[in-house]
Symmetry: D2
Amino acid sequence: MGQVVAEVTVVPLGTGSASLSGYVAEIERVLKAFPRLKSMLTPMSTILEGEMDEVVEAVKAMHEAPFRMGAMRVSTTLRIDDRRDKKITMAGKLNAVREKL
Amino acid sequence: MGQVVAEVTVVPLGTGSASLSGYVAEIERVLKAFPRLKSMLTPMSTILEGEMDEVVEAVKAMHEAPFRMGAMRVSTTLRIDDRRDKKITMAGKLNAVREKL
Amino acid sequence: MGQVVAEVTVVPLGTGSASLSGYVAEIERVLKAFPRLKSMLTPMSTILEGEMDEVVEAVKAMHEAPFRMGAMRVSTTLRIDDRRDKKITMAGKLNAVREKL
Amino acid sequence: MGQVVAEVTVVPLGTGSASLSGYVAEIERVLKAFPRLKSMLTPMSTILEGEMDEVVEAVKAMHEAPFRMGAMRVSTTLRIDDRRDKKITMAGKLNAVREKL
């Protein structure tokens, strides 16, 4: 398995407040332990670029963060875009669209 | 219903090429017909900000674009983040996380 | 636009309890107002079959249900599978896989 | 990490045919190598129940299946529902909703 681009959303449920930014910040901090991954924070998710196995390990760690902060239930969504005919990158995907606009 | 932030991914299936950027470019062009919506292209999706009903109309239009280009099957994913205790915006969501980092 | 199969998940955020089944039950009740739609409750979602426009109206109504019950933030995910070369149904999709197993 | 309920969708892109059931059947066959996982095929996904690490290994294996069949690009979506205040099961989730209907 090689490089993938993946999108992750980690949502604690039943926390008692509609604000989730404190949890999202903690989830971002977890990524510091994965320096080989590129990451991009968007208003709806975190996008990761790197080796499949390292992405998966990062997602497992991100998923644990809200539990450490007291959440009793966490819903984590991961979408993996894996292409084997050419190297896939976040910048390459954006550029390919922009060239055509 | 008021303002929401929403994430959209429109994927044509069975097109015969692993490259999808031409379809994504056409889907982005569809958004020109919805000037009241803010949009942000990410490497994994398009994020929209605006009134719920207008977001839904835009997503329906984006979903039709690959069919016009010849696709026979389209998978469209929409995730809506709707908050009623305060106004929700793409910038506000990002800022709330960044303040805590 | 014609018939689609769609998957819906409506999740209230910040409710103060890790249990969400009361909300899911209310979301299911909303579907009684859409008798032309077929629906299937799974452990992770509700799957709908019917005309695109009616599916979208149902999803909007399902999305409002947790707000009526007091939630201040709702995350709704909709994935639409739309096929134009043949009629798409929940049963047809399952049967096509089972024939090949 | 303990037991989770998770939903998986593995979609090959650019295959040249709008029909995907042959790929879905192969992805289901991969699950035979994971006998401790419970699984349920729905019209939109496969739902798994079991230990987090085993679920993740199964998803990695499912994700490889379309590549073995010749696909050059695969989009895999995984949503994990993880609850730590009580044991989570597919049957328990459905029953909790049905009791309230």
